[in-house]
Point group: C2
Chain length 213, copies 2
């Protein structure tokens, strides 16, 4: 595996393509495909074969001349590169509609992330479970994160609470914040990654694409 | 405004940056900033000034040498390019947790999209409202879309229903599907845009970024 320094050289565009490689290879594997040429893989993903080869070259070469890629091996390598085998553990902060939707319908485990607990302020929710995940009192958050080695916080709190909750979980030791608040967090802490899920950007791209047709 | 043919030349990367320009310019405007140099705008967005100039050149030039950009004017232009002034109308299909989260917390109108109605199969929900949006019987979907000129369908149905519901709304005349089902839809209909919100890709990118640190 590449070192941290190697990983830092990888462009954002490559990082954004890696999950797509994983999904495509997993689909192929589940469909019974054992090997695939870089041309065929590229075509099925609207990329070029040279782009795929270049993307993967950051992490070592995986194809063999004249053979192509072994689908399952490459899928597992991409999974490892993506940190799916790193044992990440997440908590969900805020059990409103969006938090509930993620707790009930999003398969964290499928992506190598263990969903350990959820937190809320509502005394009627605390002590219950959503799906199989226990809902704990928000006052327990820091202690829980420290004691259980949680490294990802899923932020589904109301916007007015977002900044304060983000600072709290960073203080408690998480490395990554998956931010669903549709709000830019002003976090400059070294070593902390904020991944924003910008619903608005996605809707606006769709709006662009269907306009003037 | 550019013609459809001009718009087709715009790369996906540029399309994905346009909403970011809009958000940044709107923030600057609300913060009282009247004008900004392309250098300062670029720096605040982790881009280069030449990239911004090139991106905007697809849609005509908006800056003036030695003056920079007039923030409000450029924001309004970008809004127009994004189709925010095109009068798009959306319906939400599926009022489970995710549908409810969008209905209650996502401000469609802020992005120029009128949210007209929601649809569900649950007789206990039909006839009620979520937020200010009426929930109608799913059997009414096609008629409603036709009669009200709906062009965007927000897909928050269960995965097993996704493909069939997508085909139904396309048959009824929508141009765009905002797909929250975490499932690839097999839609090849010309003139139809599917915008996937891939939660998994976002989580995997975060997983990558916090691994090996």
């Amino acid at each position: 595996m590449p070192t941290k320094r190697d990983r830092d050289k990888v462009s954002n565009a490559v990082i954004r393509r890696l999950p797509r490689y994983y999904r495509r290879l997993d689909e192929l594997h589940r469909g019974g495909v054992e090997r695939i040429s870089s041309n065929a893989l590229a075509k099925s993903m609207n990329l070029t074969a040279s782009q795929i080869r270049q993307d993967l070259s950051y992490f070592g070469g995986f194809g063999q001349q004249g053979y192509g890629y072994h689908v399952e091996t490459l899928r597992d390598k991409v999974a490892e590169i993506l940190g799916m085998t790193s044992g990440h553990k997440a908590v969900v902060l805020g059990c409103g509609n969006l938090g509930r939707a993620l707790l009930l319908n999003f398969h964290f485990a499928q992506y190598g992330v263990q969903l350990a607990a959820a937190f809320d302020t509502n005394p009627e929710l605390v002590g219950t479970s959503i799906g199989a995940v226990p809902v704990l009192d928000v006052a327990m958050t820091e202690e829980y994160i420290r004691e259980n080695g949680i490294d990802i916080a899923v932020l589904t709190v109301p916007q007015q609470a977002a900044e304060a909750v983000a600072r709290m979980v960073i203080g408690a030791g998480v490395k990554g914040i998956w931010n669903f608040t549709n709000m830019e967090l002003n976090i400059q802490t070294p070593g902390i990654t904020v991944e924003d899920v910008h619903f608005a950007d996605s809707l606006l791209a769709l709006s662009y694409l269907i306009s003037d047709q």
